[in-house]
Amino acid sequence: MTTSQLTPGIAPGRLSPEQYCENFADVAPPLGAHEARVAADRCYFCHDAPCVTACPTSIDIPLFIRQIATGTPDAAAKTILSQNILGGMCARVCPTENLCEGSCVRETAEGKPVEIGLLQRFATDTLMEKGAHPFARAAETGKRVAVVGAGPAGLSAAHRLAMKGHSVTLYDARAKQGGLNEYGIASYKAPGRFAQAEVEWLMQIGGISVVQNWALGRAGDGALEDLLAEYDAVFLGMGLAGVNALRLPGEELATPATEFIAELRQSTDLATLPIGRKVVVIGGGMTAVDAAVQSKLLGAETSTIVYRRSQAEMPASAHEQEHAATSGVRIMTYAAPVAIHKVADGLEVEFARTEMTGAGLRKLDDTFRLKADQVFTAIGQALGPLPEGVTTAGGKIAVDGAGRTSVAKVWAGGDCAVGGDDLTVTAVAEGRDAAEDIHQYLMGA
């Protein structure tokens, strides 16, 4: 008997090879040259354009779209990448409906914004497919900077610092660079090993050496003081290594959604990845949506997101929620987990219904159980262990506007630092801006 979507328990190979291919294809296929031209023609070239204001990396969007419209996509790519070196990935993963496209005046005029994300992808893909790197490194300054974490913030900082002529050593706890781009983003958003291709393209700037499988503070690796002794400056961009615990009876029966997603991203054969027939995801953010949708795409019969507040309060964008719904994911709201039980034929997650009161969210006595073969938790990530002396605020590294931490010569940015919305694009902006500040510091000193 072959495995199917109805096979009980947790099993691999629920779908045909064709179905895996179809399910994990590009969720938003790229624009062709003609489509890009048509889409670009819709831009009004606004004065002090609201899309630029809405972009955390302040890409000059009207300019790059005009460059596409006039047949110079490489120039458009340079406009994008000079502000956001990971413009290719951001074009794929940015919640544009909340950022540039959400503020587009054509959204106001017609409810149909200019397709900025797809146009950005058209430009960056055009350039990157040629393997061309449009930036050149300045003369060596002789200064050395350690960048901890090769995610969006670290890569952005490393590139900018290298471009300014500094020597960068990029440390990362994993084998591959890219951080969440490589291990955290749903695979249908960046198929075809785009994250690695982007890293390789970025490294063409030169002046960046990589140290793999190295975690700050881990025995045998190194401590912050070691880095400070060796380098002129340190940038911390190691993201959120820990996951929040459910703190419930039976929590060991659940798997962090981030682990599931990372495993999926690294899989070379999706048919070997086991998935439950019934999947329950606890949480309401992008990670919850990514885990629930990908469970469904792997062949789960049912995939249910359970969130304790209202749908409107879900941190996942309306676009993401819609994507979940159209993928066949059920979204339940106003239900908080109280326990996970092992039963004869799998698991049951017990939820208490909730209500919003003047004093906040309150659990009611009314409970119910959802059957599950696999339970994923996506209730947020947390900072891993920090070096002594680094001050935190609200569970993140405290920084000033330029990314300076409480420790001299140490900067931080991305998800591990205060500020931003835990988006790829904000991490890129913070890495870039910290690099500029480090550069000022190194050259002014």
């Binding site: 819709r42 009004y44 004065h47 005046v105």
Partner: protein
């Protein structure tokens, strides 16, 4: 449905939309399809003299100017007159006219500038029972190098001479097609009138190079590495054509001569505009070449709706209606004051009005932190640029009533007065 029937220099057609002499009217197959689609008339593509026909290039014959989304705004061409034998064309004309007696069928002609050539061709055309002839004194490319087309149209004496021959050797109504590649369009029109032309048609195409191939460093359309100037037409030339039509309609020397309006007519509205400025009918080419013959259906329904709304019983009621409103700059009311007004409900906050005004005009638009754009009346000279660049048409010009103070000048709006009496005009006549 309004009555669109049109009579132009005695030639009747069910509507005032004719296809201009051009590639769409080069042969029977096309012309029959055009009539089936609803065109009121056709000016058959220009015939030349008996003998071996002209030869066209077999490389590209058209260049183009695109707007957004590759919308065709203008086309230029280097095609010559018909390259099919005269006899074949004449037979086809006769055949079509026999089957479409209610439609106008005009034959465009271009033969060498001698009396015998014209005498010979006219006789042949008369035998087809076509409704009239149009003298092609307009094409600026190719044939002009051989002393025909615009080479004739640029010399008023030649126009008058040839027109006189045509009226002498034929009873057919005669339309003289004018080239715009000239300084003052009234001169050739007056020459045609003196020669006895029944009407003028304008404009023919404008001398042009549409683009340059930046790899080959050669004008487009490129024929084996070389290019030449061609005749430009389509929506882009409409403003030039409208002005020339109006100049002829309001000039004392040419007033009253029937005009067939040509130049970028793409919609019913364009047609109505030409007619309002004095054209008795219109001729169309680029719109048909871009969209096919079916476009005439929109022109028919649009003009009909417009006439019904206005209560016009015939197209003649539109013809020339705007001519009295065309005047010289010196007679414009210098005391007329308007101010731009932005409708905040419709504004989408793109800021194009601001960029245009701030960078290139009079710094008369303010913007606040909420991206609310507003007009500074004390700076606004009413240039209209903000209205022109607004993508959603949410800016209008408000007329200041008599007596209201213009915040820009501090003066009250006064009654009509123009430059001829203005104190700054050295030649002003003192008001009595």
């Amino acid at each position: 449905m309004a009555d669109l029937r049109s009579e132009f220099i005695g030639i009747k057609s069910p509507n005032p939309f004719w296809l201009a002499s051009a590639p769409p009217t080069d042969k029977e197959y096309n012309v029959r399809r055009a009539f089936e689609a609803g065109w009121g008339g056709v000016v058959w593509k220009t015939l030349g003299s008996e003998g071996p026909p002209v030869v066209n290039v077999s490389g590209p014959r058209y260049g183009v100017i695109h707007g957004a989304d590759r919308r065709v705004l203008g086309i230029n061409n280097i095609e010559l007159i018909t390259d099919r034998p005269l006899e074949v064309n004449l037979q086809e004309i006769k055949s079509v006219k026999r089957d479409y007696k209610d439609r106008a069928l005009i034959v465009s002609l271009m033969v060498p500038c001698d009396e015998e050539s014209w005498k010979a061709i006219l006789k042949r055309v008369e035998e087809t029972e076509a409704d009239g002839v149009e003298l092609n004194f307009g094409c600026p490319h190719g044939m002009a190098e051989r002393g025909m087309g615009s080479a004739v149209g640029q010399v008023p004496e030649y126009i008058e001479m040839v027109t006189r021959w045509v009226k002498q050797y034929s009873r057919m109504p005669c339309i003289v097609k004018l080239t715009p590649n000239i300084t003052d369009i009234r001169k050739p029109a007056a020459a045609a009138k003196r020669g006895g032309a029944d009407a003028v048609s304008l404009i023919n195409t404008i001398n042009s190079i549409t683009s340059v191939n930046l790899d080959e460093f050669c004008p487009e359309p490129m024929i084996d590495g070389k290019g030449t100037h061609g005749g430009y037409c389509g929506p882009a030339v409409k403003p030039i054509a409208l002005n020339m039509v109006a100049e002829i309609a309001r000039s004392a020397e040419t007033a009253g001569i029937p005009i067939s309006g040509i130049g970028g007519v793409t919609t019913w509205r364009d047609a109505a505009e030409f007619m309002a400025l004095g054209a008795g009918n219109v001729q169309v080419c680029t719109a048909a070449m871009t969209y096919g013959f079916k476009v005439v259906q929109e022109m028919i329904s649009g003009l009909s709706d417009y006439m019904d709304q206005k209560g016009f019983a015939s197209t003649a009621e539109i013809v020339g209606r705007a001519v009295p409103k065309v005047t010289d700059w010196q007679y414009l009311n210098l005391n007329y004051v308007t101010k731009a007004e932005i409708n905040q409900d419709d504004c989408i906050k793109c800021g194009r009005c601001y960029a245009a005004c701030e960078d290139t005009s009079h710094q008369a638009i303010a913007v606040d932190e909420e991206r609310v754009y507003s007009v500074k009346d004390e700076e606004c000279v009413a240039c209209n640029l903000c209205v022109d660049v607004c993508p959603v048409d949410c800016i209008t010009m408000r007329k200041l009533p008599l007596g209201e103070v213009d915040p820009r000048t501090g003066r009250e709006v006064a009654p009509y007065a123009n430059w001829t009496t203005h104190p700054n005009n050295p030649s002003a006549q003192a008001a009595e």
